[in-house]
């Protein structure tokens, strides 16, 4: 409780409050622009947060994350193009409502559902993150090694794309993480004699490349889209009848969203999809889904905002990113020299309190933005791509260069823009690459520490119960689907014979 109080007191600092308001607005702009989402926004902002203190930096990234996810709904409803992929399911019912002249009602429902989902999940973050960190308090290197390995293996199961593709992308990320001086042995690896790679491949330019520039290249192949704004009446808060209609859905979706957020690597997009489907399955109005059912909007929006708080739990407590955007926040923390986990909360006492307070303010601002600003923000989407994308490109370059005034970082960002574009085109997840890169160094370091701890007898790793559990989960994540498939095949054959 004291932490919440100190967090709220920190808001008394006008600079911090101004920062939160400014980033909420910036995040909203990023969210309404189709093609730019929370992950891209956070990646583009990442280099500029490196000059801030770690708490402000995390506040900026988390606020961008929240507001961009929320704002995706505005464009989903008004122009039938999700501003972010997490709002894709919001289009299904939001746009039909808007066409019937009920855009105001749709936006009102989206705002309430988002804010509710967001508030509950930051409450959850505040309670669950320290608890999870306390569990990890007794973890030694072997447990951390097994846990991080499990985090990596979850890449095989993340949404879309085949498991093998995700594994290749993840392994590529881990492989990149080994470039530079090995921290445990002091040996240079894969630097090809260039001084520039001595410190390894930086997280930040890679993130800018795969999330910013790669998206720009993809957009350059689809130019001929025109966007039409639906005329709208004033946004209004949903009446009692509407609230009664959506309340169960909002509660269920908030739960689903928070839970999926906590799972490693799965974020707002999957959360909104699953919760939309669940809402349709349980609703008495299921036949109306897709024709402008407010329950559909509520399900999608409550879940995608709830996923944010959820995804930050494992990120801050264990250093395992709970979503793509959380991976960027983790990269920021690590670049700043902070190690997530129990020590983070112990050393940076106010850390969680301030993040909690910041997200609280951001979520309350959503109501103002959603009710008052939606038509203004929606206009931003009509900015032609020929102006928008060169701007994003320049922003990426300035960011990459600003990290340490190095041209090498610009080249890395550009190279990963091209690599990322090719990967996306062919169904390889750039998120896997990002998480592999961030977790790769950690896995190796913890393996080295564990083996040193056991004086070289590495099989001792399998004598620790907690580590063993994570190893089992790792195998399950990697081979679970194939195993059940195989078992089913065999039992079917037996029945047939």
């Amino acid at each position: 409780m004291g932490d919440i109080l100190s967090g709220l007191l920190a808001l008394g600092d006008p600079k911090l409050l101004l920062l939160i308001v400014a980033t909420t607005l910036a995040g909203t702009v990023i969210g309404v622009l189709p093609g730019l989402n929370a992950t891209t926004g956070a990646a583009l902002m990442l280099p500029f947060t490196l000059t801030m203190d770690p708490i402000s930096a995390t506040v900026v990234l988390a606020t961008i994350y929240g507001s961009a996810t929320f704002a995706g709904a505005i464009t989903a409803i008004l122009i039938n193009t999700p501003g972010t992929s997490a709002s894709a399911t919001t289009c299904l019912d939001g746009y039909p409502l808007a066409l019937r002249g009920e855009a105001g009602r749709a936006l009102g429902v989206a705002t309430i559902a988002s804010t509710f989902g967001g508030l509950v999940s930051i409450g959850f973050l505040f309670v669950a993150a320290p608890l999870m960190a306390r569990l990890a308090y007794d973890f030694g290197p072997p447990e951390y090694f097994a846990l991080t390995l499990f985090g990596l293996s979850m890449l095989a199961t993340i949404g879309g794309g085949s498991a093998v593709r995700n594994l290749i992308a993840g392994a590529f990320g881990v492989l990149l993480a080994t470039v530079g001086v090995d921290l445990l042995t002091g040996v240079e690896r894969y630097t090809f004699g260039t001084h520039a790679l001595y410190d390894g491949i930086g997280f930040v330019p890679v993130m800018i490349g795969i999330f910013g520039i790669a998206e720009l290249l993809r957009q350059s192949t689809q130019l001929d889209q025109e966007r039409h704004l639906v005329a709208m009446s004033a946004v209004k808060l949903p009446g009692w009848a509407d609230i009664r209609r959506i309340r169960t859905t909002v509660l269920r979706s908030t739960g689903i969203g928070t839970f999926i957020g906590v799972l490693p690597a799965e974020g707002a997009t999957i959360a909104s999809m699953i919760s939309y489907n669940e809402a349709r399955r349980w609703s008495p109005n299921r036949d109306n889904f897709g024709n402008g059912e407010i329950e559909g909007i509520a399900a999608s929006e409550a879940a995608n905002n709830a996923a944010i708080g959820g995804s930050l739990v494992p990120t801050l407590a264990l250093g395992i990113p709970g979503s793509p955007t959380a991976a960027i926040i983790l990269a920021g923390l690590l670049t700043q020299g902070l190690q997530p986990g129990p020590m983070l909360f112990a050393e940076q006492g106010e850390f969680l309190g301030v993040i909690f307070a910041a997200l609280l303010v951001a979520n309350l601002l959503f109501i103002a933005v959603g009710l008052g600003g939606a038509p203004i923000f929606a206009r931003i989407t009509t900015i032609p791509v020929r102006i928008l994308w060169p701007l994003v490109f320049l922003f990426s370059i300035v960011g990459a260069y600003a990290i340490r005034q190095s041209q090498v970082d610009v080249i890395i960002a550009l190279a990963f823009g091209v690599i990322g574009h090719l990967m996306i085109r062919h169904g390889f997840s750039v998120v896997s690459l990002a998480i592999g890169l961030v977790l790769g160094a950690m896995v190796e370091q913890r393996l080295g520490q564990s083996v040193a701890m056991f004086r070289g007898e590495w099989w001792m790793l399998f004598t620790r119960p907690i580590a063993l559990t994570f190893f089992a989960l790792t195998l399950l994540a990697l081979f679970g689907a194939q195993a059940t498939h195989l078992i089913r095949k065999i039992t079917r054959k037996e029945i047939a014979s």
């Binding site: 881990v174 445990l184 610009v410």
Partner: protein, 143 residues
């Protein structure tokens, strides 16, 4: 076919990676795992999943038409040239050209793109350098 190509690239990458790992020197510090074991492990994962891909490719994806591919290639070339020229001619000039090119390829007329290029470049310079105090690459004009 394209999955097989990617599988091949993955396998090559894994092999190359292992080859470079074998020539990593030993450490002067004694270390139980050593600097090579971990790279071998990742290379194995990479090679196995690439092999899987070579033998069981997914259905053929759609490749962009040659024109689009050339367009992407050109955009990438401009970006590389941009990165190379950045320290030579400075941020403002290099950026104005790069932004103008991209704007033109994204569908503006030549005059429009020149105006947009110069103004975005100057705008970013003002915001990031003069207001936020970030250092941007300096050119012969001193900006």
């Amino acid at each position: 076919m394209s999955d097989r190509i990617f599988g091949g690239i993955g396998l090559m990458l894994a092999l190359l990676y292992v080859w470079r790992a074998t020539i990593i020197p030993d450490s002067f510090m004694s270390d139980a795992v050593g600097p090579r074991a971990f790279p071998y492990g990742i290379a194995a994962v990479m090679a196995l999943s690439s092999l899987w891909f070579l033998f069981k490719p997914d259905p053929e994806p759609e490749w962009p038409r040659a024109g689009r591919l050339a367009e992407i290639g050109l955009a990438a070339l401009v970006m590389i040239a941009y990165a190379q020229l950045l320290p030579e001619i400075g941020f403002v000039i290099a950026t104005a050209f790069a932004a103008a090119y991209l704007t033109w390829r994204l569908g503006s007329t030549l005059l429009q793109s020149a105006i947009i290029g110069v103004s975005t470049s100057l705008g970013i310079y003002v915001i990031f350098h003069l207001v936020l105090g970030l250092s941007l690459a300096r050119g012969p004009l001193g900006i």
